[in-house]
């Protein structure tokens, strides 16, 4: 970001002066204030994501965040009440982004329930592999960092349960708790993977996890509405 600003400033300085001796334009680029402010906010959140993924929420200090984000301490406190608020913003951002992608993938996958579930799972695992720091703070740190972050984790879990329930075969007679148990089981496996530092290894588990999710519904779904268990 800083590099971009400087480049822009240099480019602007190199522009020919307006004819007629008009006033010099400011050498700083006139980026809208809101744009700069939101970029700074984003940098603070990203720094918190990286740092708490690297050393844990507990060990992350505001001073570290300020340094990593390259913002003034005052800017940080203008934007956030404190450390927990930044962490929650980071967790929320990752949850929203991953859920948006997963929901879009499910919707785009068409009418077959098993295709929708497969698309959703693959998209989620791909998100985790692409965003290892976000994966770590959501699937590991958030669980026990603070009481509020635990609650956010549970709320997010519930949204995945709802999503699976909506996309699984409807009225097929799977027990009411099936989606809850499945999401809890998958979260547990992913948690282990992320904790061992391998969000990309989670991707390798896609076929196993998919079977795990689909299988309980296949026995009770309409014949032919799903796919068979892979051999």
């Amino acid at each position: 970001m800083r590099a971009f600003l400087d480049t822009a400033a240099i480019l602007q300085a190199m522009l020919p002066l307006p004819a007629g001796g008009a006033q010099l334009k400011p050498t700083r680029p006139a980026l809208p204030k809101e744009f700069v402010a939101s970029r700074k906010r984003r940098r603070i959140v990203d720094a918190m994501t990286e740092l708490s993924a690297e050393k844990g929420y507990g060990a992350t200090k505001i001073a570290d965040v300020v340094r990593r984000a390259g913002v003034a301490r005052k800017t940080l406190y203008d934007n956030f009440g404190g450390k927990e608020e930044i962490f929650l913003a980071a967790v929320d951002a990752a949850i929203e982004e991953s859920l948006d992608r997963v929901e879009a993938a499910c919707a785009a996958a068409g009418d077959g329930w098993s295709d929708r579930v497969a698309a959703g799972l693959q998209t989620f695992l791909a998100y985790l592999a692409e965003n290892p720091a976000a994966a770590k703070i959501c699937l590991v740190e958030a669980i026990s960092a603070t009481p509020t972050s635990s609650a956010r984790y549970r709320e997010a879990t519930q949204r995945f349960v709802d999503l699976l329930t909506r996309n699984a075969p409807s009225g097929a007679g799977a027990s009411d708790t099936t989606a809850e148990s499945l999401v809890g089981g998958v979260a547990w496996i992913l948690h282990q993977q992320v904790r061992q530092g391998g969000t990309d290894r989670a991707l390798d588990l896609t076929p196993q996890l998919l079977d795990f999710i689909l299988f309980p519904y296949q026995g009770v779904a309409e014949p032919g509405s799903g796919t068979g268990r892979r051999k």
Partner: protein, 214 residues
């Protein structure tokens, strides 16, 4: 847990100390269930256990120290229930052993909501130190499920992650119910939990047959 008689009782100091320790652990478990971790204090634990504050500190360095001891004790009690129930069906086939273990688990948790809450809910939210214990506890149940588990109905090998996902999924479901204040009714989940545990190995139809054969 009953407090010991006052005055001269002829009980050995070791016995008294052990009894006090157990009362403190039970005290913390009960107080925690009622007021939550933040509001649980050493003096509340002492009052509940009928143990003086100074005696508390003979056993534990801090509230956290007592909490960890209580956590380990809770897991140990649950383990004992499950292992005993599984051992009771040692000669029986795998599905019956699993049913025995899960049934014992739910019955025990329903009968002691405070222990259920400590083990399945507090372990998740009271900070990293406890969470590691929660994780180790969950993992310790995996061999009970894995041992003797059959191949999938179509002959395919059940993936290795399945045992872990089943155990983790059960812990998650039970924790959600306990958190919702439904610990006493947790036994009602027996058919669901059994179906969830057996289906990956036996298929839905066979799992349901075993469950309905009760």
């Amino acid at each position: 847990m009953e407090r010991l008689p006052r005055g001269r009782h002829g009980l050995s100091p070791e016995f008294v100390a052990q009894n006090q320790r157990e009362r403190l652990i039970a005290g913390l478990t009960g107080v925690l269930y009622e007021v939550g971790y933040q509001k649980t204090t050493v003096s509340l634990i002492g009052k509940r256990a009928a143990v003086s504050k100074s005696d508390f500190y003979k056993h534990f360095r801090s509230k956290d120290d007592c909490f960890f001891a209580a956590y380990e004790a809770a897991i140990e009690r649950i383990r004992t229930q499950v292992v005993t129930a599984c051992a009771g069906h040692e000669e029986a086939e795998w599905p019956l052993r699993v049913r025995g273990g899960i049934s014992a688990l739910l019955t025990f948790l329903a009968g002691d909501p405070a222990v259920a809450s400590l083990s399945l809910v507090e372990g998740l939210r009271a900070g990293r130190g406890v969470y590691d214990r929660y994780q180790a506890a969950i993992e310790s149940f995996i061999p009970n499920l894995r041992q003797g588990a059959p191949r999938a109905p179509d002959g395919a090998r059940v993936p290795v992650a399945t045992d872990e996902a089943v155990v983790g999924g059960i812990a998650s479901l039970l924790g959600r119910r306990v958190l919702a204040g439904e610990a006493e009714r947790i036994e009602e989940l027996l058919p669901d939990v059994l179906e969830f545990a057996l289906t990956p190995y036996l298929g839905t139809a066979e799992a349901r047959r075993i469950i309905s054969a009760g």
